[in-house]
């Protein structure tokens, strides 16, 4: 009797374990992963686990990792979080025993969440490879993050259409020029065969970051600049009138009725530019990949978002919100292996070529390879011509919640169900409240 009971227990135990080991190897839902050289960990060499943020570059990272493993024997796992799921994926991955050794944060606010996990990088080789100290993410004198890609955004112009309407990019040098051109194009839209001057200012979740985050960077940038600061607990909103002017221009000279913007997506806006239905489209250098399929390089140009403050000197908005961090909690060997891998990526021929050409990144490291991206070239030309790039200050926005508040207020304002005062209050009062809440 006893024996049979024991057998029964053993059997059920076996059933349970076999049912659960199945889950052990997975990398979790919403992620795609590949282990190269699995189980081939040589003694003392450590291993690298990179949780990648950019789904567009997943395959390039996978092959770069494989090639690194082939050359050095160090296993490198690259897992890419599904779009928009990075923070949730990172949170669950970090709780595992095999946590990512290399991950990324989006700036000072992201760092606040993960500081306890970040390895101090000031003594690392890769820190010495940075072209400027501005690309390191610091807290006091400690270095916690290294920017690995620099991006620019502005207003992307379909030059062919602009010239058809009788304007040139060179003739648009400040906000008034832009407004005149856009108003005129809008009034002649039927004659020109387009739907509007600006592609739809979509306020759907896939697109609203272009305005609640990227466009909102400009009033913050100019306020910081005027006050000589680089972050604040209380924003004054000195340049919100200019913010309103640009936003008004976007929604008035647009391809659709402002009331419909709440449901317009990022794809809608991109499609309008690609189909020649709009002349202007606010977005960044990361769009080059999808636009270059439909346009020749000389048909597109990115111009600064002229803001009516210092248009003469204003360049494109250039900066980064992608900072590599190394997991402090990982074993010593793994940390070393990760630092070596990062260094290899940005110094070796293969690494820099893959990042610069295959992934299309501009990397802020001394041995960077030139990128093919025209928008990036235009940014370099503008900087060379003496324009000042607008830095990315939206990484200092107090929280995602603040951005959502501004986004909702902008959407309601565009549709006429809300007032501009609500935007101002979401911007200024919301900033104060959110900073206080985050600081606790």
């Amino acid at each position: 009797m006893r024996l049979k009971k024991m057998i029964a227990f053993a059997m059920s135990a076996l059933l349970v374990t076999s049912a659960f080991t199945g889950c052990g190897d997975g990398t979790g839902s919403g992620t795609s992963g590949e282990t190269s050289g699995s189980g081939a960990t040589e003694e003392g060499k450590g291993k690298v686990y990179y949780l990648n943020f950019k789904p567009e570059q997943d395959s390039q990272w996978q092959s770069l990792a494989q090639s690194y493993t082939k050359q050095t024997g160090v296993p490198v796992t690259v897992v890419t979080a599904a779009s928009g799921e990075y923070e949730t994926t990172l949170m669950s991955e970090m709780a595992k025993s095999d946590a990512p050794t290399l991950f990324q944060v989006n700036g000072p606010v992201g760092l606040a969440n993960w500081k306890d996990y970040c390895y101090e990088l000031s003594g690392s080789d890769i820190y010495g490879e940075l072209t400027s100290d501005a690309f390191a993410l610091k807290d006091g004198d400690d270095v916690y993050g290294i920017a690995y890609v620099i991006e620019s955004y502005g207003i992307i112009v379909n030059k062919t259409l602009l010239e058809k309407a009788g304007y040139t990019v060179g003739g648009i040098q400040n906000f008034d020029d832009l407004k005149n051109a856009a108003d005129d194009i809008q009034s002649r839209k039927d004659e020109l065969g387009i739907k509007g001057a600006f592609a739809s200012t979509g306020m759907d979740g896939s697109s609203d970051w272009r305005f609640k985050t990227h466009l909102a960077n400009l009033p913050i940038y100019y306020e910081y600049k005027a006050d000589g600061i680089d972050s604040t607990k209380e924003i004054k909103g000195t340049y919100l009138d200019q913010y309103r002017n640009v936003f008004d221009l976007y929604i008035t000279d647009s391809t659709c009725d402002p009331k419909e913007l709440a449901s317009k997506t990022a794809d809608d806006a991109r499609a309008e530019l690609i189909n020649g239905e709009a002349v202007f489209y606010q977005n960044g250098s990361w769009e080059y990949g999808s636009l270059s399929e439909s346009f020749k390089d000389d048909e597109l140009e990115m111009i600064p978002i002229y803001f009516g403050v210092d248009d003469e000197n204003e360049g494109l908005c250039t900066g980064t919100e992608n900072f590599w961090c190394v997991n402090k909690e990982a074993s010593k060997e793994d940390i070393q292996a990760t630092l070596d891998f990062m260094d290899w990526c940005v110094t070796s021929d293969e690494g820099t070529k893959s990042m610069g050409q295959d992934m299309g990144f501009v990397i802020p490291f001394k041995k960077a390879v030139k990128s093919d991206n025209v928008f990036v070239e235009q940014d370099a030309e503008m900087t060379a011509a003496g324009k000042t790039p607008v830095s990315w200050n939206f990484t200092t926005m107090p929280s995602e919640n603040w951005k959502n508040g501004v986004g909702s207020a902008l959407t309601a304002y565009a549709a006429g169900t809300g007032k501009w005062d609500d935007v101002v209050s979401a911007f200024v009062d919301g900033w104060k409240t959110e900073s206080e809440l985050s600081g606790q």
Partner: protein, 284 residues
């Protein structure tokens, strides 16, 4: 013989499921309650902080708003779904032509996932609102509310209808015949005979619709995303939002505390509802 075998080998049948239940439900649940008293970024680095998180639940007044909104939503959608599902079930047990086709058609929406439905209905409803010159779903708390009610009704009526049909088919023809002989008209038969006899189905259906209304998340995310300004956020989305849209480790604990409060609220309300409808059930 069978009884003996079951007695001997019960662990084989019970243990795998029990273990899965313990590992997949009970343990995370207890751990979740503990987390609601802590400050954490990941679950293996947790600092106990006592009641701190619970004190901060109402810090940004979104929780109380979504609580009221959710209660209203759960009640309105439950009533509508049950009444409509029951009416359709009545119609489809009359033995009319095409009954089977209609049963299938009404049940179909239930097979589509909430996120997909949300996006499809968003396009549809926004199209109608645009023509009507009304603010879109994302711009008006009221439109968003009714949008979600319509969506949930469309999705769940078929399922509840099946349960009601089963209940109605189980009403013994003897009772109906007796009622007929006693001279009861159709309405009297419905309210005095059929309804009391299908109380168990009503209990199940109100329980399901009420809890589904409280727990709704996917459809909320895809249909309105909580817009405008979090005004159409149901509780589940509010908790998710607290967890992920805020920066700083303290918010994870607050979100967790909200989730625990949410759990007890749903349990309390479902128990009250179960007790109430059970008391109306009759024994044959």
């Amino acid at each position: 013989m069978i009884g003996k075998v079951t007695k001997k080998y019960w662990p084989v049948f019970i243990l795998p499921t029990l273990a899965a239940f313990l590992i997949g439900f009970v343990w995370p649940f207890l751990w979740g309650i503990y987390l609601s008293f802590s400050r954490f970024t990941t679950v293996n680095n947790v600092k106990f902080t006592g009641y701190e998180n619970y004190k901060k639940i109402f810090i940004d007044n979104t929780f109380s708003h979504s609580f009221k909104y959710t209660v209203l939503f759960a009640v309105v959608s439950s009533v509508l779904i049950n009444v409509l599902a029951f009416l359709i079930a009545l119609a489809l047990t009359k033995g009319l032509a095409g009954t089977n086709i209609f049963r299938t058609v009404f049940f179909m929406p239930n097979l589509i996932g909430g996120i997909v439905l949300g996006y499809i209905w968003q396009t549809l409803l926004n199209g109608i609102l645009m023509i009507a010159g009304q603010p879109l779903l994302q711009l008006s708390e009221k439109n968003g509310f009714w949008g979600m009610v319509i969506l949930l009704c469309w999705q769940q009526i078929g399922y509840m209808m099946i349960i009601y049909i089963a209940g109605l088919n189980n009403v013994s023809p003897d009772y109906l015949e007796a009622a007929q002989i006693d001279g009861a008209n159709a309405l009297q038969t419905l309210f005095r005979v059929k309804l009391p006899m299908i109380m168990p189905s009503i209990t199940i259906c109100t329980f399901l619709t009420l809890t589904n209304g409280f727990k709704m998340f996917d459809q909320n995310v895809s249909l309105t995303g909580g817009e405008p300004a979090k005004n159409s956020q149901l509780l589940a989305l509010n908790i998710f939002d607290t967890f992920y849209a805020r920066s700083g480790p303290q918010w994870k604990g607050i979100g967790q505390a909200k989730a625990v409060v949410f759990f007890f609220a749903v349990v309390a309300i479902s128990l009250i509802q179960l007790n109430f409808t059970r008391s109306k059930e009759v024994q044959e």
